[in-house]
């Protein structure tokens, strides 16, 4: 990238400057060349023209001189006399010749170029000559003879014996003008040759040519310089000579007899139609301009080279700081804000460097500011985050509190139900086991149940459901419950024989008490009041619009549904309630429940229903009531796929059993005085020693003594707080497989879960009591008896025989 950058800008500049220089110098050179050539051509024109004129004048002068010379010869008096005498035949030819020849030879003496001088008579026969060979020669056909009869005349040069010569002629006349003969001179044209051959100022190729027209050809009077063999050429091939012969004067760029390009000046000689041409080869003529052009081209190349070198240096000077800037920019981009360029010049690039440094400083400054801001912002963010976290934590706490509050509310509802609406079923009923379950819903509901144990053989179970929800329903349930109790008490009080009132009487009376309130409140209550008579093995049932009761019959292993036809409480005043009587056998189960149980729905909206409930009871009929109810709960939970229900779930199961009667039953009552402990032990020992069947072994007896002593002293010291005026009742029931002791008292209830574990390392002297009791018997229960007293219930198993 870096390597490619430098040639790039350099190349661009080089191309630009190069093209510019080429164009400029090209135009200049072309202009100079054209100008120089024009000047040269003008100069050559002038030179050739001058030469032509000069030669023409010289040539003409030469011709005139020859004419004069011939006239001079002809004008010799002696010669004319001789000619007159000859013409008059006064003298013979020989005499004439003898007289004339010395004259001619004399004339020849003074003129070297007169090769032969002769005299032709009027018939054209040479009658005298300086050379005898010429005597008698007939020259009548010669143009020189023809013209020479009248004027002096120079003929066309002829190449004879390697020399250019011609006939120079002139008339020899008598003084009266009578033609006597013609002087014929063979003239050597060496002078003329010299005259024309002198091409001074015309260069190597320059020459001067004289020609005359002969037919359609040009005949050169003297041989051409470059090719002496050529004497005649076609007229058309040498336009300059043609023009001259035709009498024109001028200058032209043309071709010569060789076909070579020439510059030629031409003009007529003004003698016998002769033309003269001075010419020079174009190649030579233009040599100076060509040389100039070459010099210019070399110069241009040199200038271009210098340009390029200068350009390279300049470009390097420009690009180096730019490269430095680029490197710095790269460094800045890479994060080095300390990078600076060294500024060495004050030109634009220098200013750019300065600006760049300034920019980088600004950048560093603003970066630092930014960094600072980022740090600040980060800190703010962290703070905000912390605040947010706090807020979230607080919100979470609030939500938790809300959930807690809600749970507390449910808990309170549950407690209300447990305390106000639900009674614990009696557990000490010999002939029946009773279990109750209630699962409170999100809202307080009006389910309630109650148990009245009249005797070991008689138990009333009341299960009810107040229409509606919330506190009013709960209070209405509590009120209804108390009305039942009240009605029971009043009816018992009114009974003269102490006979237990019938359930229908109780319900009718209780209804009479609550119906007005219920109607006013536009509420009603469904109730099932069941009385179990364990002796007669029957249940009297008043069903007031409540859910049907499930009755599992042990004998048939199947469930039947029991339902009365009374209206719910609170529907109409003065209602008389009827009861139905259902017999049962040991092993039967009766299940009472609220509609919350059977109206639980699954995901598809299907009701749990009484059939499913009956099937569940049937399946688990062998279980104890607590376990049976737990199975029902599990079934409902599985069915609805939820642990929470929209309605209260209330369920009471009564399982009837063969009542088991103790073999012996004894009791003792004592004051809450520690002195009575010995009596309690004596009671225990007495019971244990008088057992029906196998007597209890000594160790077990000792353990029972210990347990009863500990329990009794606990009641005295803790439940009664050391008061000695309270009562403690201990009763014992002996069964075939166990001995049951019950310690009844009216002191504070005891919560075994609050007791500390004993210290087995001897570090504490007390705290062993509860542990000792638990270790000494087979079962310990702390409960409330049917009379509402607190009770410690101890069971010691005995070996069965």
């Amino acid at each position: 990238m870096r390597l490619g950058f430098r040639p790039s800008i350099w190349l661009k500049l080089a191309i630009f400057i190069g093209v510019l220089a080429l164009l400029t110098s090209g135009v200049l050179i072309w202009t100079a060349y054209m100008f120089a050539r024009d000047m040269l051509v003008d100069q050559i024109h002038a030179r050739l023209t001058v030469t032509t004129s000069d030669r023409q004048a010289m040539l003409l002068a030469y011709i005139h001189q020859q004419h004069e010379r011939v006239r001079l010869v002809a004008s010799r008096t002696r010669l004319r006399q001789l000619l007159e005498e000859h013409a008059d035949d006064k003298i013979a030819d020989v005499a004439f010749r003898a007289g004339a020849t010395p004259i001619l030879a004399d004339a020849q003496k003074s003129a070297e170029d007169f090769l032969v001088i002769g005299i032709a008579d009027l018939t054209g026969t040479l009658i005298a000559a300086t050379e005898e060979t010429y005597l008698g020669k007939d020259v009548s056909a010669e143009p020189s003879f023809v013209y020479g009869q009248h004027i002096a005349y120079l003929g066309i040069p002829q190449l004879t014996r390697g020399r250019y010569q011609t006939f120079l002629s002139g008339p020899a006349t008598a003084p009266d003008g009578q033609l006597l003969g013609v002087i014929m001179v063979v003239l050597h044209l060496g002078l003329m040759e010299e005259l024309l051959a002198d091409a001074a100022g015309l260069g190597q190729t320059g020459e001067v040519m004289v020609g005359t027209q002969r037919g359609e050809t040009v005949r050169y009077l003297l041989p051409p310089l470059h090719d002496p063999e050529i004497t005649e050429v076609p007229l058309a091939s040498t336009p300059a000579m043609a023009h001259a012969i035709q009498g024109y004067k001028g200058f032209m760029h043309t071709t010569d007899y060789r076909g070579v390009e020439v510059l030629a000046a031409y003009q007529p000689v003004k003698y016998q139609g002769w033309g003269i041409v001075a010419k020079i080869d174009v190649a030579e003529a233009y040599t100076p301009v060509e040389r100039l052009r070459l010099a210019l081209l070399v110069l241009e190349a040199a200038i271009l080279l210098v340009d390029l070198v200068a350009l390279y240096v300049l470009a390097r000077r420009f690009t180096r700081p730019i490269m430095a800037l680029a490197r710095m920019a790269a460094a800045v981009a890479a994060g080095n804000l300390e990078a600076r360029v060294t500024v060495t010049s004050s030109d634009e690039i220098g200013r750019l460097g300065t600006t760049f440094n300034h920019m980088t400083e600004e950048l560093a400054a603003s970066y630092a500011t930014l960094e600072h801001k980022v740090v600040e912002r980060t800190r703010e963010l962290v703070q905000a985050n912390a605040e947010l976290a706090n807020e979230i934590a607080e919100r979470k706490r609030a939500e938790e509190q809300l959930v807690q509050a809600h749970e507390q509310e449910v808990e309170i509802g549950f407690k209300i139900q447990q305390m106000l609406l639900f009674d614990q079923p009696p557990r000490d009923l010999p002939g029946a086991r009773v279990a109750a379950l209630t699962i409170p819903s999100q809202t307080i509901d009006g389910d309630f149940c109650d148990f009245f144990k009249h005797s070991d053989c008689c138990l009333d179970v009341i299960v009810g459901d107040v229409m509606g929800k919330g506190i009013p329903a709960a209070l209405m349930g509590a009120a209804t419950k108390s009305h039942f109790l009240q009605a029971l008490c009043r009816l018992i009080a009114l009974s003269p024989s102490g006979k237990l009132p019938e359930p229908k009487e109780i319900v009718t009376l209780a209804h009479a008490e609550v119906v007005r309130q219920l109607i006013n409140l536009e509420s009603f209550v469904t109730v099932c009041y069941a009385r179990f008579d364990l002796e007669r093995r029957q249940v009297d049932l008043v069903d007031c619009g409540h859910t049907t009761t499930v009755h599992y019959r042990h004998s048939t292993k199947a469930c039947t549904l029991v339902q009365g036809d009374n209206m719910p409480l609170g529907v109409s005043e003065g209602e008389i309630f009827e009861q139905i009587t259902v017999p049962f056998e040991p092993g039967d189960v009766l299940l009472f429940y609220s509609d919350g149980l059977t109206e639980t729905r699954d995901d598809t909206g299907e009701l749990f229903g009484v059939e499913r409930l009956a099937a569940c009871v049937q399946t688990h009929s062998q279980l104890e009531p607590e376990e049976l109810i737990d199975q029902i709960r599990l079934a409902v939970v599985a069915f609805s796929n939820s642990e929470r229900f929209g309605d209260d779930l209330t369920c009471v199961a009564v399982k009837l059993a063969e009542p088991e009667l103790p073999l012996t039953q004894v009791e003792i009552e004592m004051a809450s005085d520690l002195q009575e402990l010995a009596r309690a032990r004596a009671f225990v020992r007495e019971v244990c020693q008088n057992l029906p069947g196998t007597p209890l072994d000594e160790d077990s007896t000792s353990q029972l003594e210990l347990a009863i002593t500990e329990a009794t002293s606990n009641i005295m010291q803790h439940a009664y707080g050391g008061r000695t005026d309270q009562r403690i009742q201990i009763d014992a029931e002996v069964f075939a497989d166990r001995i049951v002791f019950r310690l009844h008292h009216l002191g504070e209830a005891f919560d075994p879960s609050l007791v500390e574990a004993p210290a087995f390392d001897g570090s504490r002297e007390g705290g062993f009591g509860v542990y000792i009791i638990a270790q000494s018997v087979d079962e310990v229960r702390y409960l409330r008896d049917e009379q509402g007293r607190n009770c410690i219930y101890l069971v010691k198993n005995r070996q069965t025989t």
Binding site: R681, D699, L706, F760, F768
Partner: protein, 113 residues
Amino acid sequence: MELAIEKMDDVTVVILPGEELDANNAKEFKGDVGPLLQPQAKVVLDLSQLRFVDSSGLGSILSCLRQLNAAGGDLKLCGMSKPVRALFELVRMHRIFDIYTTRDEAVHAFQPE
């Protein structure tokens, strides 16, 4: 409570009267035995008369041990009946006390060999 006390050399043997030591008389026993728990005292409690001890009784005997140990003395037990022994074992106190079958053994245990 009338404690029978016998001195055998420097060992005090205390014989608990009556057959029972329970919540009823444990405090009394503690009060009566207290003066005997002198510093450096070597005490043997003879429990052979006792037929019954409850947790309070056991607590009072444990109290004796702790007092004596604190004062540089020592306590040894002897003559435990079966139910009493059973109680001690039930609450692991047989590991805390030095228990001997007879009084002589207990006294002898104090004698340096």
